[in-house]
Symmetry: C2
Subunit: 279 residues, 2 copies
């Protein structure tokens, strides 16, 4: 089931590579409007009949930026293949990871407001990206109402996704955040037709930590703990989900219970398999 995840994963994470931002070279592929609708999981409606409009693809290598903060906005991007991260940069140049776009995701919508991109997108692996000029999209909206709704819907979905993240950062423990992160990846891989049970992380612990509002050490420790508890098997970037249901519902290791376990372990009265949990 799981397709070859053994692609390159260079991601040199070069902090200030805005020089290399932009198009690497003219892509060789083109997509029709129907292709794009399909990628975005939109019912194409009558718009799919439009054969006049095609969209160019561009390829990016790991580490390259699709667009950068402040760059004039005129284009939306749709991921056709590959994995990316979107980030905000503070004045000190520190990255705040906002998300990990993959196949079917729409990028760049945050640029509409100020006519400049508010975040930047970095390729974590080789990527194939469809370029969609915003002007063309709005003109299509006028001709095909279902395209209009699709665009609103895509942006609205992004909004909801961020709301869920805010909720997560505002209310969940480190364990719960990591657990949900893994499940979210799992679901997205499944939706793409890959295995939701076994997959490779494309981002560093640092990236995950930034995304979840945690330090990389906490992420590492939490994953190791999940491994010891038998919820997952983790080896570097390779992850196997063994108890998805546990991960899905994990909110926090109940403090009272945890305390009880700790005491129990100290007095050696519980099974060794449970010691890992309290350790």
């Amino acid at each position: 089931v799981s397709t070859s995840f053994a692609e390159l994963r260079s991601a040199p994470n070069s902090s200030y590579a805005s020089a290399e931002a932009g198009r690497q070279r003219a892509g060789h592929l083109w997509s029709s409007l129907a292709d794009v609708c399909n990628l975005l999981q939109i019912a194409p409606g009558s718009a799919s009949a439009d054969r006049d409009i095609v969209f160019q693809h561009v390829q990016f290598k790991a580490g390259q930026r699709i667009f950068t903060i402040g760059q004039p906005f005129d284009m939306l991007y749709i991921v056709n293949s590959g994995f990316l991260k979107t980030v905000l940069l503070d004045d000190a140049g520190n990255e705040q990871v906002l998300g990990f776009p993959m196949k079917g995701d729409l990028l760049g919508t945050d640029g509409i407001h100020q006519k400049k991109y508010a975040s930047e997108a970095v390729a974590l692996t080789s990527c194939d990206i469809v370029m969609v000029p915003f002007k063309i999209l709005t003109s299509l909206s006028r001709r095909y109402p279902e395209m209009e709704m699709a665009l609103y819907s895509a942006i609205s979905r992004e909004l909801v996704r961020e709301q869920v993240m805010l909720n997560m950062l505002g209310s969940l423990s480190a364990e719960a955040r990591v657990a949900r992160f893994l499940m979210s990846l799992s679901e997205r891989f499944s939706a793409m037709g890959y295995s939701g049970k076994e997959f490779n992380l494309r981002m560093t612990r640092q990236d995950i930590g930034s995304y979840l509002g945690l330090t990389l050490e906490t992420v590492s420790r939490t994953m190791s703990a999940f491994d010891r508890m038998g919820f997952i098997a983790v080896d570097g970037r390779a992850v196997v989900l063994k108890e998805p249901q546990t991960l899905r519902t994990l909110r926090r290791l109940p403090p009272s219970k945890a305390k009880a376990k700790k005491i129990a372990v100290e007095s050696d009265i519980i099974a060794p398999s449970e010691k890992a949990l309290a350790a």
Copy 2:
């Protein structure tokens, strides 16, 4: 300068009042398209000439819900006056505060995607809200391109606002979050023509804490600390900003410095005014 903030502020915070959700009574006011553009701070363009379309207002009292999670989406709302909070509810019924909309803010855009509202809006004070049927807005978009852009722009702005919140929750200390929250309120009050220096909080410490990913006690303590340090004067919900510049740039009390101060205080070698900071 500061207008009468001494309105009612009941906000009984009644957790499950979905029964009272919806329109309180038919409003007596109506807005033209030009009024709406003005409220949203949009250049009206040719659309303002359209006198055929008017939008109804509705009044809400503190504690009432403008819309609730899961309710079928067909309407956007624009705040004409009053203060609200938008919240997410988890399965246990706990509120996660997403924002504090006020005059000029657009509500309900998160409902576009699933055709159901993803969050709910609760009045914190009496509110006057303009109802804008989404269908009418999209039909206007087709007639007036500047209306189309205005709508995209408003949603995009919301997206950026949430990104900034994610950054805040992911990377800032409790002190920095509270400081930025106060400055953000200040700027919004200023933009509305009120005093940005002195204002009343319309939300509880609980609400602020939820919004900032902190407990209400931490919010209270942090504000008290700012007061002791002379950055603000706080008395319940009344706030006076005394050193906005300090608040604006506050990232975290530098640990090394804080430690130095602590030691200094313990050995009684620094000025009393500085003791508050280390205490």
